[in-house]
Amino acid sequence: MPTISFDGQEITFEPGQTIIEAAMASDLYIPHLCWHPDFPPHGSCKLCSVKVNGRICSACTFPAAEGQEVVSSSEEVRQLRLRLTQMLFVEGNHFCPSCEKSGQCELQAMGYYLGMTDNHYPHFFPVRDIDASHPHVLLDRDRCIFCELCVRASRADGKNVFELAGRGIHTRLVVDSPSGKLGDSNLDVNDRAAHICPVGAIVVKETAFRIPIGQRKYDRRTIAEVSVAEEAPLLRKRYEQKED
């Protein structure tokens, strides 16, 4: 099997795999927010930036190739990811103390993982709409990081409930219904799209704050540990299904 060097370690990959897939298959974590083993890679958050033969590339979309030298855990790359995470914090409105997702949020966990103690940049304080019209699902756009996981998941659900609209810093999440309200859409609380959001932008109502502080997903395990424990098996399952 062909190999790449990942942070100095030789790992094998199957032709056609991206760098993140190759790493995941070897239980090695590369930070990511918009990548999910069950959906086509997207490449927008850039948290998975790694240095491939000296050049910055997105591990989630860049194909692994024999002899590549991939650096993921250098201080330079960590700093880059830290700044990207801080960008995501300041462009939205993330008030974790009052957020239902706190403790289970991938963006927040990314901040913890990268040792982020402040937001570094000036805050944009955008004014975005909150949509509580759905009986079971809340959409709080303040926390959206435009990863399009809900968009991809909803397409897989066969529904197209979510799309992005607007441009640039004015990008916003829109809902497919005549009124634009979630309550008028055909989103079902059991849809994958209702559960895929890595942050607290799409949350299922009446589930918040149930798990006591200290026992939530990222209270004791880092996002790296959770990812390897939960996402690597999903990826393997996908490969097995492909082979069948």
């Binding site: 490449g43 927008s44 958050c45 850039k46 910055i56 880059l80 960008m87 462009e91 799309e163 810093i169």
Partner: protein, 644 residues
């Protein structure tokens, strides 16, 4: 033309359609087509259209747009543009109806519509005006002219007047820097603006004179073809390149293209022969796409090529079809050049009549190729080839992941050749005169000539066809510049060249360029220039990826801070750190968005230094101004805050 007198809520019957018949031939002659114009169609105060009559009117507008353009994905943009034109915005009901007709989710249509600068989901004025905010136009006083027009018409820039008569805003470069300052009114370009013209325009708008009846000389685009060489000088007869290629075969054509050394003229400089060859080798339903999005500020050479050399461009596309086996091609025309649409369609018709386009080309049984034109709607990112393909497909124009590249996986995931207008025009001549003819001009790595769009502080702005290898100093000699601060080669994403570097050459191996060449006189302010370029990137970032979406806005804030004299040395460091982040972006826009800042900083550190405060830190927002609301409401006008 549609005629649609409508009783609107509480406003009686208002219907007004200009009789354009008398003007039609004239407008066609100067490059304008027939133009439908519905006045006062949607003037009800409420944003929601809910009366039965107006719903019918919306339905009629959508019907018309759909029957005129079709409901294939590549028609979505045209349909939306048409509705925008007829209703002065995209009413929600219209979007719903479009979604149904195209069998798309409504949210998808909204997502596409909201992306483009010239499409709006809120009402715009009956006269919808955009001033070019390109730095060159701004240096020719466009801001004062816009203020004057706004003042005359009693509205704020960016706003729609209460009676919905007029809206005035800015847009990125309109491709008229050689004859700016310029604006677009309902899509029609008006170059060479003056204060008198502004006053007259305000008067026409107040009197509700339809744009079709405005003085024709206002719309006259001059041709400033200042230097001719291989491309502009060689006489052209439709079909000569194609017939030659058909006679000698694909192998011969590719050999000639290889020998010519032709590289892409859109900026990246990929060898054209190899691109066509790769595409040919990939099995599939091939497509040929001409990139006429020409969005790089300061560029306008494609405008002239499309105006005067359109046939040559279409022949180039047909040659690419001959090589790849494509049966369909698209020319993606930037929305700002909509006035070229009619003449281009006429050129296509002519080629069809000559048997150079359509079925059984040149009488051959198995050679079918036709070209459709897709018009953009105000988004620079659509010049990036994969975003352009998404735009044609009726998707949000985000750049795609690469690899795969369009040559193997392009339009509808089929192998696709995407080339710039100038690349196709050159290919046609190479098919007539051979590769060597072309290669004898230029340098080792950059063969042939390049069209430069020269604008700014020089005596003779215009288009100059120059041999590759020419120095910046020589170009400046040609266009007659005086004392200069520097030259921006290749648009904001390109290179800022200071006088000490004027011996550098226009060539892929030195100063690569899509053709923009902006001259800045020594009286210009370098910080101002860099800030305006930063503004361009922040405005045009598509928003797909984090570093560019957020980073371009942060970069703009920092440049504003420097410009206002609040910044410190730490802010310069911050700009450098943003450079690293932008380099992690998804596409070329983000990768190059720091260039104007970093290049000017490298050449003129003193200019930056002079604006900095000798402090560790200073706030980036206007502290005292943030007290203004409270001051006003409490009447405590004496209370102020220092900035630092």
């Amino acid at each position: 033309m549609i005629f649609c007198p409508l009783p609107l809520r509480g406003e009686g019957t208002i219907g007004h359609v200009a009789d354009q018949s008398g003007f039609q031939p004239y407008f066609e002659a100067i490059g304008f087509g027939r133009w439908s114009f519905i006045d006062l169609l949607f003037r009800s105060r409420s944003l929601e259209i809910d009366t039965a009559e107006s719903l019918d009117a919306v339905a009629a507008v959508v019907d018309k747009a759909v029957s005129q353009h079709g409901t294939r994905p590549q028609h979505l943009l045209a349909v939306l543009r048409q509705i925008q034109k007829d209703c002065h915005y995209l009413p929600k009901q219209a979007l719903q109806s479009v979604a149904r007709r195209f069998s798309l989710p409504l949210a998808r249509v909204v997502g596409v519509a909201e992306f483009y600068g010239f499409l709006h989901t809120q009402p715009r004025g009956e006269y919808d005006i955009y001033f070019s905010d390109c730095v060159i136009d701004v240096f020719h006083d466009s801001e004062a002219l816009m203020q004057r027009l706004c003042h005359r018409l009693r509205l704020q820039p960016g706003a729609v007047r209460g009676d919905r008569r007029v809206s005035i805003d800015t847009t990125s470069c309109t491709g008229l820097c050689d004859q700016g300052p310029a604006l677009l009114v309902n899509g029609w370009p008006v170059p060479r603006l003056t204060p008198t013209l502004m006053d007259a325009m305000a008067d026409h708008i107040e009197r509700r004179v339809p744009v079709t009846q405005w003085p024709a000389e206002w719309f006259l685009i001059e041709d400033h073809l200042c230097r001719h060489d291989l491309l502009l000088n060689t006489p052209w007869r439709p079909g000569t390149g194609l017939k030659n290629a058909l006679r000698q075969g694909v192998g011969w054509l590719l050999e000639q293209l290889t020998a010519s050394g032709l590289r892409g003229r859109g900026g990246a400089g990929f060898p054209t022969a190899r691109k066509w060859q790769f595409c040919r080798e990939t099995p599939g339903d091939h497509y040929v796409v001409c990139n006429a999005d020409e969005g790089e500020p300061g560029t306008f050479k494609d405008r002239e090529l499309l105006k005067h050399y359109a046939d040559q461009v279409f022949e180039g596309m047909t040659l690419a079809a001959f090589v790849t086996g494509a049966r369909l091609g698209f020319l993606y025309l930037r929305g700002e050049y909509e006035c070229l649409l009619r003449p281009l369609q006429a050129a296509l018709r002519q080629r069809r009549c000559l048997g150079l386009l359509g079925r059984n080309l040149c009488g051959l049984m198995d050679f079918h190729f036709d070209i459709e034109i897709v018009v953009g709607a105000g988004a620079y990112i659509c010049g990036e080839e994969s975003a352009l393909l998404n735009s044609i497909e009726g998707l949000r124009p985000h750049p795609r992941n690469r690899p795969p590249y369009p040559v193997t996986c392009g339009l509808w995931n089929q192998p696709t050749v995407v080339n710039n207008v100038e690349s196709f025009a050159a290919a046609s001549l190479i098919a007539v005169h051979g590769g060597e003819w072309f290669a004898k001009v230029g340098t080792e790595k950059s063969k042939g000539t390049k069209l430069l769009s020269i604008s700014g502080d020089c005596a003779r702005p215009g288009i100059y066809e120059v041999p590759f290898g020419i120095t910046v100093a020589e170009v400046l000699g040609l266009c007659g510049s005086g004392e200069t601060l520097g030259v921006q080669v290749g648009g904001p994403a390109g290179t800022f060249v200071a006088p000490s570097d004027y011996q550098r050459r226009i060539a892929y191996e030195d100063l690569g360029t899509g053709g923009s060449f902006m001259v800045f006189g020594s009286h210009r302010d370098i910080i101002d220039i860099a800030t305006r370029f930063a503004q361009f990137f922040a405005h045009e970032s598509c928003g797909f990826c984090t570093p560019c979406r957020v980073g371009t806005s942060l970069q703009l804030r920092l440049m504003e801070k420097i410009r206002r004299g609040w910044a410190t040395a730490g802010d310069i460091q911050e700009l450098e750190s943003l450079k690293q982040l932008l380099e992690a972006s998804h596409c070329g826009l983000g990768h190059t968005a720091h260039n104007p800042v970093q290049h000017t900083l490298a050449h003129y550190p003193g200019h930056y230094q002079a604006r900095l405060r000798d402090l560790d830190f200073s706030p980036g927002f206007d502290l005292d101004n943030e007290l203004e609301t409270a001051r006003q409401l409490t009447g405590r006008f004496g209370d102020h805050l220092r900035q630092v």
